[in-house]
Amino acid sequence: MNFKKLCVLVLALALVIPAGFVAAGTLDDVKAKGYISVGVNESLFGFSKPDEKGEWRGLDVDTARAISVAVFGVPDKLKFVPLTAKTRFTALQSGEIDVLTRNCTQTLTRETALGLNFAHVNYYDGQGFLIPKKLGVKSAKELDGATVCVLPGTTTELNVADYFRSHGMKMKPVVIESTPELAKAFFAGRCDVLTSDASQLASTRSVAPNPGEYTILPEIISKEPLAPAVRHGDDQWYDIVNFTVLALIDAEELGITSQNVDQMLNSKDPRIQRFLGASPGNGEAIGLDEKWAYNIVKQIGNYGEVFERNVGPKTPLGIERGLNALWTNGGLMYSPPFK
């Protein structure tokens, strides 16, 4: 039961961590134990979910793999810890995991009162509504009096209440802890509408008995910048996680893919030479191997490849790049220069 786990984590926070724990760098800790503990969603198709062979797959999982490549040069030095929305921050605070890549929305409270640092956003999302077509609803403004299925422990509970309040509408939430159980109740008609991040709705719809019977309403009612998070108090580790995400984005911007990365080593472009470590400096500055960014692109790909592979139009989720396109293509993905 999740509550038990929460209690254990709280106790861990109280008991296990001796004072001064964070002073030792997470990078050294991780190298000493030989793997990175990474908190992921237990089951979110396209973001993190084990496939038929038990291999973890998804956009968040690939972000974690990129961190493993940056630190160890190989993508599989990871221990995946599946977490619910409720236990995820406590797990990070208590030191059970080193980094959280679990479709978490970056907010002020989480950055401050919860003591977390969010790296660069790896997916720009927004909350929407999934509804059966047969109800004939065309807009979220027609939802007055609806019963709404919501996952607990997320910003979605608050967003949906805000949205209904600001439009003078009434709602009745049904809050169920586990994502699959909630989806089952929704498909059986317990609720009129399911609300969550739009990417998650696409993911839920793809596992519906008849995906064609459901539609996502046009309104996006919130901003959900999803980003990996680390604990306060370890700037070097934060830099590594942050620039790993940025390396994925910058590689796409520079036109480097997992296919052409070896040719690119001979590129005359000084930006590419610096990025791939052909002209050294970046690796030493961040405390990693000079080839760290080269390794990431070689083994994981650039952000565009990661996106297309996991959630893009060719996958069952069929999500367009939209906000997640490069800034040069009208999206929000923008990386500072690697120099």
């Binding site: 926070l13 109280a14 003591g115 109800l135 607990p152 809050v175 159980e181 059986a188 009129d192 108090g233």
Partner: protein
């Protein structure tokens, strides 16, 4: 003489009384130190990671909705009120659950001992099946049963006038609120008090004169007639709030949600199976001679049960019954799995929105401790009352 003084001045660790005091002081110190270590270490850890602490968040706006509530609640209310809503929801399901469990458990326990082969077999099957399946599975089963089997609100079943059954729950008409209802409630309470005094008077009279008094029928009449009189005196209000399908769902009337029904049904069926076994054990603990002796002085079977068997059986039944009541209350926290907004569910949302896990978990523990201790206190008082008085 010298030996005597030596004896009385023996080192204190040879004196069992003083030694036990020392042990207790040492253990108390250790526990105190451990507590201090836990608290100070936690505070230091939280401070170092700049995580906020304290209960100030209770006064902030909760900004989330709750599915069902006994008191008026909206997202604009404070966290404190949201938690009270959760507390009352837990109280509601536990209270109704305990009452139904005791009734069903006693009934099944007696049925298990029935001389009728079919009745006792059926009771045995019920007990074995429900005792042996984990409660969480049973809850999932009942919840899925409600939302999979029942139709949507637009095709709701309408078995009686003003009663609708659909996957949003059981909706039925209730009287519109009227001051007379308050007087009826008061009249009912007065009736209860009257019954109590009537029973005392009847018992004393029987002890004095040997005459019995029809306590049951007079009590029942009092409990029904007094509220009825209040209703007539209050102007006989008959306005009803009748549920009507408006938009997505029924408006008006009273709605018993599938989450509440599934949780209540699951908890009652599961716990009553254990209570039935306790009741059976209690009745079987009364020796056969007691029953035969009672029969031989000409008591009718139900009087035998009431006057001879039950008073002795209860002493055996009450302690395990108390622990089953506590189990039911604690198991009600499984509500989060099927979406009933109990205290754990509301506190969970609060923890996630405010990030104050330690305060939240502490409150959850305190609330369950409060429920458990008050149940134990009431049951221990009752247990003492029915305990064998040795003269």
């Amino acid at each position: 003489m010298e030996t005597v003084t030596q004896h009385s001045k023996a080192a204190i660790w040879y004196d069992p009384r003083k030694r036990s005091i020392i042990y207790q002081v040492v253990i108390l110190l250790l526990v105190g130190l451990l507590g201090y270590y836990l608290v100070s270490n936690t505070t230091a850890n939280l401070k170092r990671q700049s995580i906020a602490t304290g209960f100030g968040f209770l006064q902030k706006e909760a900004s989330f909705e709750i599915g069902e509530s006994l008191i008026s609640y909206s997202a604009a209310d404070r966290y404190a009120r949201a938690l009270v809503v959760g507390f009352l929801n837990t109280l509601l399901v536990s209270f109704i659950g305990i009452i139904l469990t005791v009734i069903l458990g006693v009934f099944m326990g007696i049925a298990r001992l029935s001389t009728n082969w079919l009745v006792s077999r059926l009771a045995a099957i019920y007990i074995e099946v429900f005792q042996d399946i984990p409660i969480l599975l049973q809850l999932f089963f009942w919840y899925a049963f409600f939302y999979e089997m029942l139709p949507s609100p637009r095709q709701a079943m309408n078995p009686l006038g003003g009663v609708f059954l659909c996957n949003r729950g059981l909706v039925f008409a209730v009287p519109e609120f009227h001051p007379a209802h308050l007087y009826m409630g008061l009249a009912f309470l007065a009736g209860c008090l009257g019954v109590y005094f009537l029973r005392r008077w009847a018992r004393k009279r029987q002890a004095r004169t040997g005459l019995t008094f029809p306590v049951f029928s007079v009590s029942a009449a009092m409990l029904v007639l007094l509220p009825l009189l209040a209703w007539v005196a209050g102007g006989m209000p008959t306005a009803m709030s009748v549920p009507e399908l408006k938009g997505f769902n029924f408006q008006g009337g009273l709605n018993v949600s599938p989450e509440f029904s599934a949780l209540l049904l699951g908890l009652v069926l599961y716990t009553a199976a254990f209570v039935a076994e306790a009741v059976r054990a209690g009745i079987q603990s009364v020796s056969k001679g007691q029953r035969e002796a009672a029969m031989s002085i000409g008591l009718r079977p139900n009087r035998v049960l009431q006057l001879v068997i039950l008073p002795q059986a209860l002493r055996v039944i009450i302690p395990p019954l108390t622990s089953q009541m506590l189990n039911l209350t604690k198991n009600s926290s499984l509500a989060v799995a099927i979406g009933y907004p109990d205290f754990v569910s509301v506190a969970g949302t609060t923890i996630n929105q405010t990030g104050q896990a330690i305060e939240g978990v502490a409150m959850i523990m305190l609330v369950y401790l409060f429920f458990s201790l008050s149940t134990s206190a009431i049951m221990n008082w009752y247990n003492k009352k029915i305990a064998l008085v040795e003269r």
